[in-house]
Symmetry: D3
Subunit: 335 residues, 6 copies
């Protein structure tokens, strides 16, 4: 991606050329009857209202990345960009989307490939067949869905990121507890949250506008059980694995108050619940600690029901440590 100005740094009369994310876009009619585009475009540093007076251009869809060229102006005391050209990125464009929206630290394609490799290495054909159906039923949404509207993994491809992290954690602890059925735990790790693709509505940038009716009236756990049963029907699997996987999905929040009408009732289900909780908490805490100066306490975090402390001991090592979290975390790639 070529060098481009960040939205937060723009000032009046500046020329801008680069890639931006479409937060909203619609065609309007001006008082003189002409049509124009009204857009809100953004990168991770902020957003700006834009006008394109060419009435022939169709509005890009929300969540898309576009390339624009324009000039920054001031209108009623606020900055506004007058867009001269606008196009969708081509394959040659080297867009760094992590500068446009919060993104998972790895590319969705690579993450999905790792999950598929794990499925291929399993020794339980029934589970393999069900998992492949489930992933196929998610379709394209798996690439960009976040894991939540707020809180943990609220980022483009966050659902894949969280799924893969739980899977990796499962691989890490399996050697310590060899009585666990490895393939059952792996299958639960991969399947547990896939129904989030039906629970809320996300655009391609990973921005969630709302919960779906299905998401509100059933939730991704109950819907997930129906999905596992449907996948098993399609794959022709009728063995006990269907019931076990259904139970892992419905119990992975651990207790009724958190949405699970049944607690985990075998060890692999309990381990899935623990790793899911661990990964969500670590992801959320990492974000909070980064925003809190060493030696200080955060505001009260309602989802965790506590304030967090950023230990002073992190101060001395922060320069090198911080490096490992910022630039290196990002990934570049074609959309």
């Amino acid at each position: 991606m070529m060098q481009q100005l960040s939205v937060a740094s723009l000032s009046r009369d500046q020329k801008f050329e680069g890639f931006l994310l479409v937060r909203s876009a619609e065609q309007r009619t001006s008082s003189n009857g002409g049509k124009y585009l009204d857009l809100t475009l953004c990168d991770t540093t902020g957003d700006i209202n834009c006008k394109m007076w060419d009435g022939t251009v169709q509005p890009p869809r929300q969540g898309a990345v576009i390339k624009v060229r324009g000039t920054v102006q001031e209108f009623n005391g606020r900055l506004q960009m007058r867009i001269e050209r606008l196009r969708t990125p081509s394959a040659e464009d080297d867009v760094d989307i992590s500068r446009l929206m919060p993104c998972a630290p790895e590319a969705p394609g690579a993450m999905l490939a790792e999950i598929n490799r794990t499925i291929s290495r399993m020794k339980t054909p029934e589970l393999q067949a069900i998992l492949r159906e489930l992933i196929s039923m998610c379709g394209d949404r798996l690439n960009y869905y976040p894991a939540a509207q707020r809180l943990h993994h609220a980022e483009r491809s966050g659902l894949l990121h969280h799924t893969l992290s739980v899977l990796r954690a499962a691989e890490a602890v399996l050697p310590l507890y060899p009585f666990l059925d490895g393939d059952l735990l792996r299958a639960g790790a991969i399947a547990h949250d896939l129904s989030k693709t039906a629970e809320f509505i996300s655009d391609e940038s990973g921005n969630v506008s709302d919960y779906s009716a299905e998401g509100q009236l059933l939730g991704h756990l109950v819907h997930g059980v129906a999905q596992v049963k449907e996948a098993a029907r399609r794959a022709g699997v009728t063995s006990e694995y269907v019931l076990l996987l259904c139970h892992m999905v419905i119990s992975h929040h651990g207790q009724p108050d958190h949405g699970s009408p049944r607690p985990p009732m075998f060890a692999e289900a309990e381990m899935l619940h623990l790793l899911d909780d661990m990964d969500a908490k670590m992801n959320e805490m990492e974000g909070i600690i980064r925003r809190t100066p060493p030696g200080a306490f955060s505001e009260k975090i309602w989802s965790l029901d506590r304030r967090l402390y950023h230990p002073l001991i992190h101060t001395s090592v922060s320069s090198s440590e911080d490096d490992s979290f910022s630039a290196a975390d990002a990934y570049s790639g074609l959309l």
Copy 2:
């Protein structure tokens, strides 16, 4: 049904002829190598161990009603019946099964017919189609399943009894709240507990031996959602009614602590929850009050978390009132 002695009234050397319920039955081998039947037979007043020394007779299955002729003997200080003849009832036998096991006060066939009439009168074809599939998926079990192992409607055909009672209560309150969608409420009343036929394992007398693995790991609410989705798939229904009915099933226990991961989120779902709760409580309380003398308190009832009081004012009117609950409640009919 001809007059027969009650099990509790039997004494040594008495002849017995009549119908009894098979609590358990197995073929054994005596010390001299001969085969014989060892049975426990019962009616609602008690049970008795029985032997039939004819090694050629196959053991009847648990939960079945059989006709026996035999003689009461004493063995090691306890009564035992030596059975001379044993056969399954024929169509001519007029068996009053309500004397053999706790039974719903109406015949299963009549109850199912009333439910089917209600379905036929509905004006919503999608709901009719789903309900007919659901009832068909229950098969024969609907005739004899109880609604619970203990507590409310723990009786043969108790599931039908409870289902019909909730449906009747729905009809009774619908005129008071005309903003409710009548067919949606009726459909919820009929469908809400049907998955109990997969939750536990009952013999034909309505005696529950245990919960099924599916019942323990998922429960009848979660399983019920999958059943509604499967029924809708078979019936080719894809409209919003599928989601609404699924929500009514998953939310009908009202709150997470009682097994519903979602509270009722529209008025028909709330009304279903209230009527389900009302019918279960009334059925349970009626049984407790009957066992408690007027002016006295029951033991603490754990499921209700309280003791119950039988008001003294019931005393004066008990003679006529009691009549309306005993003989008249029973029904006679062929099995």
Copy 3:
């Protein structure tokens, strides 16, 4: 009631003649020493500040309906009505008070008559005597008191409306549960909330300004028990019915967290609690669903601890259905 303009539709220089509700009224002294009336008048569509410069007119009391004639003016950018004439309605005026304030859908006189007819048909003289004393102790307030400051039945005559609805629900379910003592349940339905007339302070339009000290320090359940005991003393009743009715009053909220130090301990008390809850929930939900478009979810309702969904299936039938709830619900009558 003659046609009159709604407050929300008023504009400058318009003439107005019609009936309005007094939200507040006081006599003031202008800077030149003259006395005038400052009033806030309203109908269900909004309110408007009014001045009447005739210093001899006494301010009407809050909650009253008055007939006014005046002219709409603008003062400091807001509309204001200059009132030329003002009088209390006469018997000939055909005031539709349901346009002036939220009202129960039936007239208070008719509702009270239905309750009294039910009492007359009872076969238990002790309960009849107590109920008549209780109703008499409420006096005039029973006509206009709402059932709550907010939430369910927060409308003029809402207390009568809720009382009658619970009574009707009791009549509807009694045939289904014949072991219940009908008169005891009817008496509980009538008596359970009557002490709300002492719990808060309402003007004649059903507008609650605050809770009373008695309401805050004891609540209508505890106060209700004392009222039942006082009514029984006056009526000379000493039988068990007094204790049973006291228990139904104190237990009708069902559990300690909801204000009942005792749970319902006999079946009629439990049924009263269930029907009271049902009627309150249905009334509240009906209002919320009406304010929510089909296919949408409401905001989170704190009293219910959930969001509500207005099913899409209601859309197609809404035209005819809505009719049955609006105009037909209102009643007209002399004050």
Copy 4:
């Protein structure tokens, strides 16, 4: 009281003469048609079955103290006393009832006198009038009622004991919090538990057989409010003190889960709740600690939800300290 043998020390063929408590007594008819008395008599060390073969003697009432003379025999391997003479104690008998049943450490007459002196010294005539009515309404029961069936102050006159202890605690803390209204707190201390005389059924020895219907269906807090209102009506008091005292009664358990539908809403009500809790806990803990050896932990005490520890440091001073709790605590007096 003359020296008499303790029941636990009796052995076969011993003569016994002394006072015993009647646990139960009834006239029976022997197989030869003669009438005799069958009694269970006890002191604090145990009980013994007794027979009096004189058919003309009427059975004494349960809870009474009687003087008996008899001989200990053995029947079917258990001790039994054959009673030769039996009479009610006369005024000359110096009965130490604290050897016959658990008793409050002070005489009921003295305790009541102290309470009445406190009432006389109050400066609030309304409160004085209400309190005198309330005490009068308790009648004779105040002399012997315990404060509970089990737990704290389960002893003859325990209700007076607890009432007086709370009153003394109120006097002790009033100088520390001078903003409190002393008479209001004193009145609450005296009135708060008086309705326990209607909550359960105690014989004259302070032995509680059961809760009353009123006690179960309303409880002493709700009933207490009605009693205060009735007392105020009789005394002709209508001032705010009636409401305040009612609130102190209904709120003195502090929170809904403990039976108070309202929390204490002014400082005197809160202080009453705290002192009531303090006195109950101290009385219960004192009993538990005495039964637990120094250095040991008690069993788990369910009412306190914990085990208690008897500190070792008490060991060294136990000899003198124990004195202050045993003999000196007892009181002697005529019944």
Copy 5:
């Protein structure tokens, strides 16, 4: 203290001379390069921004009392004081600090002396030694620390005030429960909150800016146990008293939800918990009742989870009673 104007009464062009509390103070540099002092000074009636243009004066420290002489001016529509002279109070100044900040009603020196006298009169050398170490470890902070940032005893020397009040309450109730070990209860009363001096950060005026890291990560109960152990180590005490005192500190909040991982497990620990709770509640309620007019209810108090009522009966006696709480409560003395 000489008469001085209250901050709330100041008006433009007025001269002021008197003592004020330093809320904040810093040396700044004006646009012309000169140095000046910018201060916020206050008394209990309000605060005022002040400037002292003499660049040579060092800023006083936050929480200190200073004597100032200046003139009130207006700047940008707000009052501001131009300070001509500023000095720290001398021993001759008779400063009434209770007019400058919320103060405990007794002087810290007198309160500490009373606590030390109680320690001296104890008969348990081990407890005396531990308590003297603990008080010594608090150092100077004991003089001015409040007991809390908000809620009860949020006043200069509030920690000493609360400690002494609990100790006095212990002395008041000890005669009523003679089985309690008096010295152990006294020791607990003195020690229970001393670690609050490490829990938050207070300036000398008793104003708390924040919790310390130790206060947030451990809390004063856990930290208090470590302090008691350290004090015992320094004092060379190893007997059971160390463990008992540690338990009293860790259990004095009564239950896990309030910060005590153990409930009080012997009677002295329970009594400490009850008296601590009583004193905190009475102090908080006294403040709320004073701010609420007789006959009115307060807003909902979140820490108490209820509204409070100021009884009307207090009205008639308020004139004399109020006196006893205001002027007489204050104390005068040198800092």
Copy 6:
């Protein structure tokens, strides 16, 4: 260890020679005045009462392993061993203690060595110093203490086993969450439960007789904080690490109801809590699953508040899998 008979397999008149664990032992005096030893000896299959009539032998201490030679006899219908010779094992004896008592699957020496190696590799000298002091303060008890009286790791050396498992889990997840401070997490893993050596009283076989007074009155979390502070004092460490480690100890149970007055307030503390919970749950579940046949549910496990299911799918692979848990898990070694 030579072949020896298991206690459960013993029968009358059998000779026995082998090693057994002393459950209890005392010297008694027989009716003829002679002294003898009365012992209860056991292995993991059961226990047996033993007599040794040689009055000169001193009773071995409870929890010790001894070598005995004797003859099995029958006395009053129960087996009893008459012991002829008894000695403590020598270094040459190859005792397999895992046959005598439940033991951790690895030798304590090896486990402690692995923990010490981890400490040595840390890069934080303050943490190393504190950890070494803490381990040294545990002394010999670390070798044999279990992690609990019941539930998880209730086995000889179970405390070391649990500590090491949590440490290994920490190493396993650290690469997945690189923002965590590795040494801080390792230190928490090692230190979090060490105060269990003071919480209960275990003999050398890992059998817990009771909780200590310190364990009951403070608990291992609160005591652990004091131990960390004492260790830091001895090691001369005063940096923030002391506070952080104290917080990890006090918060590692996660919430107040589980004994932690503070929740984990930085990410390393949260991770420690999660891993501690994971290891305890996995250890407990592994034991339960092993005792439950495939396809069956366990009884309700109170500590987990649920029943557990042993999936049928484990059946087919059980033969090889079971091997990996039984013999291979045991370790042999000299005591």
